[in-house]
C-alpha cells in the first residue's frame, strides 16, 4: 500500500525555506560575502565570540532617594513658611535612611495645623507620624513610593546610558536590567576594547549644580576650620564641599566651602554645555544653558539674591564661586582650566541628561576581538569535525538509513539557527554547548528508532511493519527524553542569567526542532523509500 506523501514533503520543504529565511533573511546576493553579511545581521554573536566589553553596574539608588527627599525638605520648609507655622528645623536625621525626614520643634499650639498641612501635601507619598513628647513629626517615604522611585531610577539610568552609548557610536549595545542582584544594569558593548574612556563617560554623574554659599565665599583652609567657625556643628541644611584643584583653588591648595544642601538648579535643569576660548583676562571655561523651567527658577532666585554668592559644583567639587551681579535667566559660565576631553565629556553628559544616581561597576570584562575569533574558529572546527565524524559513522553503521539520520541532523541545525535568527537570540560559547547536546540527542533519536526497527526485523516483521512498529515504540521514549530536557531548559531559561540562559536557549530550540526532524522528517523519508520498494524487499538499515 502506498502512502500519499506529497503534503508532508511540501510541509518539510516549506519548513526548510522558512528557517533558511530565518537564518539569511533575503540576502543581497549569493556571493560568500553577501551571505555572511546576511547571516551576521540576523544571528548575533555573544561578546565571548566576537570580542567587546561587558560591564555590570550597580545603581546607587540611595542617591536618587536623597535627591527626592532633599526636594521634599525644601517643599516642607516652603509650606510651613507659607502657612506661618513655627518650627525649629526640618532635617534628615540619618544619612543611612535617606527616606526619612523629621520636622523638629513644632510649636505645640500649631501641632494640629502642622499635622493637617503635612498630611494634605505629603500624605500621598509619605507615612506621617507625630511625637508629642518632643513636638516633632516624622515623614517616611511609603514603601510603594520607594519601590516606584527605585524602578524609575533604574529605567532612567538605562535610558541615559543608552543615550550616551549611542552618541559614542557603539553599534548594537545591550543595556538592560540585570536580574542577578538588586538594582544592577548590564551593559554590553560589542567591539569595544578600550573600556576606560567609554566607562568614564557612561558612569560620569557629572552632576552640575549651583548652590547658595552659606559661609565664607572664599572658603576655609580645612574642614576643621570651617567647623570651628560654625561653633562645632554644621546646620542640617548645609554641607561642606571641597574645591576643585583646577577650579577655585588653582594655586593647588585645598579649600573647603560651606554650601546650602539643596541646589538652586542642578541635574536635569541643564540642557547643554560648550567650551569658550580664553577671554580677555586669558581665562577659559564652559558655557552652560538651562532648560526653560530651570531658567525660570534660576531667574527667580538670582533676581532676589543679587550681591550674594553662589557656588558651581561639578561632580562634588566646587568649580567656581561667583557673586550674583544681576538676575540671570538661562545661561552662565564656569571659568577654570578644562581639557578638551573634559569639556566634550561634560557637554555630552549634560546633553544626555544627568544620571539620577551614581553607578559603581561591580563586574567588568573585555574580550579581545582576536581572542573571540580564536574561540569561534576553534569551536567551529571542533563542531564541524565532531558532526562530520558522527555523520560518517551513521552512514557506515546504518547504510541507507544513515542518509535519513544525516538529513535529519542537517535540517535540525538549519531549524535551530533559523529559530535563533527569528528570535534575535545571541549565540554564545555556552550556547554552542546547547547545540552539542542537541546534536547528541538528535543522533540518539535516530539511533533509538533504527535499533528498534532492526529489532522488529529480527522478530520477523516485514519492512513496512518494522518501520511502523519501530517508530511507534521509539516515539514514546523520544517524547519522554525530549520533554524532560525541554522542561529543564525552560526552567534554566527562566531562572538563569547570562551563560546559563545562552545554553538554555539553543537547547530549547534545538530539541523542538529535533522532535520534528528526527521523528517526522525521518519517517517521511522512510515512507517515500518504502513507496518505491518492491514488495518483500529489505530496507537498508
Amino acid at each position: 500500500m502506498k502512502k500519499n506523501l506529497n503534503g508532508k514533503i511540501a510541509l518539510i520543504i516549506g519548513t526548510l525555506l522558512v528557517f533558511l529565511y530565518g537564518i539569511f533573511g533575503i540576502p543581497k546576493g549569493v556571493s560568500g560575502a553577501a551571505l555572511e553579511q546576511a547571516i551576521t545581521q540576523r544571528i548575533h554573536l555573544g561578546l565571548d565570540l566576537r570580542g567587546g566589553a561587558h560591564l555590570i553596574l550597580q545603581v546607587v539608588v540611595k542617591d536618587a532617594i536623597n535627591a527626592e527627599t532633599d526636594n521634599t525638605v525644601a517643599r516642607i520648609e516652603q509650606a510651613m513658611a507659607d502657612s506661618h507655622l513655627t518650627y525649629t528645623q526640618v532635617l534628615k536625621p540619618d544619612p543611612n535612611t535617606p527616606q526619612t525626614i523629621r520636622v523638629e520643634g513644632v510649636d505645640p499650639a500649631h501641632s494640629s495645623a502642622v499635622s493637617s498641612e503635612l498630611s494634605d501635601r505629603f500624605g500621598a507619598e509619605y507615612d506621617i507620624a507625630s511625637n508629642s513628647n518632643d513636638h516633632s513629626f516624622t515623614l517616611t517615604m511609603k514603601p510603594s513610593q520607594l519601590a516606584d522611585l527605585e524602578s524609575r531610577t533604574l529605567d532612567q539610568s538605562i535610558e541615559t546610558i543608552r543615550d550616551r552609548v549611542d552618541r559614542l557610536g557603539v553599534s548594537e549595545p545591550v543595556i538592560q536590567r540585570y536580574g542577578l542582584g538588586a538594582n544592577e544594569i548590564l551593559v554590553e558593548l560589542p567591539g569595544v576594547e578600550d573600556l576606560d574612556r567609554i566607562k568614564d563617560i557612561i558612569q560620569s554623574t557629572s552632576r552640575l549644580e549651583v548652590h547658595e554659599v552659606a559661609g565664607n565665599p572664599d572658603g576655609y583652609a580645612t574642614e576643621q576650620e570651617a567647623m570651628t567657625s560654625l561653633g562645632g556643628t554644621i546646620p542640617p541644611d548645609e554641607y561642606l564641599v571641597h574645591g576643585d584643584p583646577q577650579g577655585v583653588s588653582s594655586d593647588g591648595t585645598d579649600r573647603v566651602f560651606l554650601l546650602k544642601r539643596v541646589s538652586i538648579v542642578g541635574g536635569r535643569d541643564f540642557r547643554d554645555a560648550s567650551a569658550i576660548g580664553p577671554n580677555d583676562s586669558g581665562r577659559q571655561g564652559v558655557n552652560f544653558v538651562l532648560t526653560n523651567a530651570g531658567g525660570q527658577r534660576f531667574y527667580d532666585y538670582t533676581s532676589s539674591h543679587v550681591g550674594t554668592y553662589m557656588a558651581i559644583v561639578l561632580g562634588d567639587r566646587v568649580k567656581n564661586v561667583a557673586v550674583i551681579q544681576s538676575a540671570i535667566r538661562d545661561n552662565g559660565q564656569i571659568e577654570g582650566q578644562f581639557s578638551k576631553e573634559q569639556i566634550d565629556a561634560l557637554s555630552l553628559t549634560l546633553r544626555t541628561g544627568a544620571l539620577p544616581a551614581s553607578l559603581i561597576p561591580i563586574e567588568q570584562r573585555t574580550v579581545g576581538a582576536s581572542l573571540g575569533a580564536d574561540s569561534i574558529r576553534q569551536g567551529v572546527i571542533a563542531a564541524i569535525a565532531g558532526t562530520l565524524s558522527v555523520m560518517f559513522f551513521m552512514l557506515l553503521y546504518y547504510r541507507g538509513a544513515g542518509i535519513n539520520a544525516d538529513l535529519a541532523l542537517f535540517l535540525n541545525l538549519v531549524i535551530l539557527l533559523g529559530f535563533m535568527g527569528f528570535s534575535q537570540s545571541t549565540l554564545t560559547l555556552p550556547g554552542i554547548a546547547g547545540v552539542i547536546l542537541t546534536i547528541g540527542m538528535g543522533v540518539d533519536s535516530n539511533v533509538l528508532i533504527f535499533e528498534r526497527i532492526r529489532e522488529e526485523m529480527r522478530a520477523g516483521k516485514g519492512a513496512a511493519q518494522a518501520v511502523d512498529q519501530g517508530f511507534a515504540h521509539a516515539w514514546v521514549t523520544i517524547v519522554d527524553t525530549h520533554v524532560t530536557t525541554i522542561v529543564s531548559a525552560a526552567i534554566l531559561f527562566m531562572f538563569g542569567t547570562g551563560p546559563v540562559k545562552g545554553f538554555a536557549v539553543t537547547l530549547f530550540f534545538g530539541l523542538l526542532a529535533n522532535l520534528f526532524t528526527a521523528v517526522f522528517v525521518s519517517r517521511v523519508i522512510f515512507d517515500s523509500h518504502l513507496n518505491n520498494m518492491k514488495a518483500g524487499a529489505r530496507i537498508s538499515i
Partner: protein, 318 residues
C-alpha cells in the same frame, strides 16, 4: 553492521562491583573536594567568575618569562598575583590574576598590574582579555547558577513522577547527582578551575545523563507491561541489554564529538570539554549501574517491609 545483538549480561549480578566503583569515585571526589576546602576555603577551584578577582590575559611582544613578570609586579608592591603560562610558545601569552578585595573599584587591580608591566617592559603589551569581578557578583552568580540547576532537577523529577512513578524520578536524579559529584570531584582533583563555561558543560552532562537514564527506564516500563510474571531483576537486565547497542552507539558518538572539542577546541574550551569528556563516560555508566539497580533495590526494600511487590511498574502510558 551490527553490534551487541542478543547480549545477555547479568548487570544486576554485578551491582556490588558497581556500588564499590561508584563509592570509590564519589568518595575520592568528596575527599579531594574536602582537601581543597581545607586548603583554600572552597571545595573546588573557582574561576574569577565565581570567586571574584581580576584576571588579565596579556600578550607580550617577545617570549615572556614568568619570573621577570613576577619581579615587575613585586617591584610595584603587588604580591598576591598568580602567573600562568597560557599560550607561551605560539602567542607569548600569560594569564595574570589576583584576588579582588573591594567591591567598589573592580578595575583597580587591572590598572595596577598593567602599570607594573608597563614600567618594566618597554615593548608594547597587549591585553587580549580582562575579567574583573567583584566578590558580591561572584557570590550572586554562584547562588543563582546553583538554584537554577536545582530547580531544573526538581522539574525533571516532577515530570518523571508524572510519566512513570516517583521512584523512577528519584533514581534518575540520584544518578545525575552522582555524575555531577564525580565530575566536579575530577575538577578538584586535577586543580582545574570551574568557570561559567564549565557550568554550561555540567548542565550539558546533566541533560545527557538524564536522557540516557530515561531510555533505559522507558524500556523497563514497556517490558514490565508485556511480561508481568517475570521478576523485576530479569526485566531490568533484559531492558539494559536490549538498549545496550543504542547506549554504546550514542555514547560513543557523543564522546567522539566531545573528544573533537577537547582536541581541537584549544585553551578557551579546555575546561568545558574536560567536563564533558568525564561527564559522558560517567553519565553512560550511571544509567546502567546506578539508576536501574536503584529500582530493584527499592522493590526489594518494599518486599522486605511486606508491602506490595508488583511496583514499580510504571503508570499506564499510551
Amino acid at each position: 553492521m551490527e553490534l551487541f545483538t542478543g547480549v545477555t549480561i547479568d548487570w544486576l549480578g554485578k551491582k556490588w562491583y558497581f556500588l564499590a566503583f561508584s563509592l570509590l569515585f564519589s568518595v575520592s571526589g568528596l575527599i579531594s573536594m574536602g582537601v581543597h576546602f581545607a586548603r583554600t576555603g572552597s571545595p573546588v577551584p573557582l574561576g574569577v567568575d565565581f570567586k571574584g578577582g581580576t584576571e588579565v590575559q596579556v600578550t607580550f611582544a617577545n617570549v615572556p618569562d614568568a619570573n621577570q613578570v613576577r619581579n615587575a609586579t613585586d617591584a610595584a608592591g603587588i604580591h598576591d598575583v598568580k602567573i600562568v603560562a597560557y599560550d607561551v610558545p605560539a602567542k607569548h601569552e600569560l594569564l595574570i590574576s589576583m584576588p579582588e578585595q573591594s567591591d567598589v573599584n573592580v578595575d583597580s587591580s587591572r590598572k595596577r598590574i598593567l602599570d607594573a608591566l608597563h614600567q618594566h617592559y618597554n615593548n608594547p603589551i597587549l591585553e587580549s582579555s580582562v575579567q574583573a569581578v567583584g566578590p558580591t557578583v561572584g557570590r550572586q552568580l554562584e547562588k543563582q547558577a546553583g538554584l537554577a540547576t536545582l530547580y531544573s532537577l526538581v522539574g525533571m523529577l516532577v515530570y518523571l513522577w508524572f510519566r512513570f512513578e516517583l521512584i523512577y524520578g528519584v533514581a534518575a536524579v540520584v544518578a545525575v547527582f552522582h555524575d555531577t559529584l564525580i565530575t566536579v570531584g575530577a575538577f578538584a582533583l586535577t586543580g582545574q578551575e570551574i568557570s561559567l563555561t564549565v557550568i554550561a558543560a555540567i548542565l550539558t552532562l546533566v541533560g545527557y545523563s538524564m536522557n540516557d537514564t530515561i531510555v533505559v527506564f522507558d524500556r523497563i516500563r514497556e517490558n514490565l507491561r508485556i511480561s508481568r510474571r517475570e521478576g523485576l531483576t530479569d526485566v531490568v537486565n533484559r531492558s539494559i541489554n536490549q538498549t545496550l547497542s543504542r547506549t554504546v552507539l550514542t555514547s560513543g558518538l557523543t564522546f567522539l564529538t566531545v573528544l573533537a572539542l577537547y582536541i581541537f577546541g584549544g585553551k578557551v574550551l579546555s575546561g568545558f570539554s574536560f567536563a564533558l569528556v568525564v561527564g559522558i563516560l560517567i553519565g553512560t555508566y550511571s544509567s546502567i549501574a546506578v539508576a536501574a539497580p536503584m529500582l530493584v533495590a527499592y522493590q526489594d526494600w518494599r518486599a522486605r517491609r511486606g508491602k506490595a511487590v508488583s511496583l514499580p511498574a510504571a503508570k499506564r502510558s499510551r
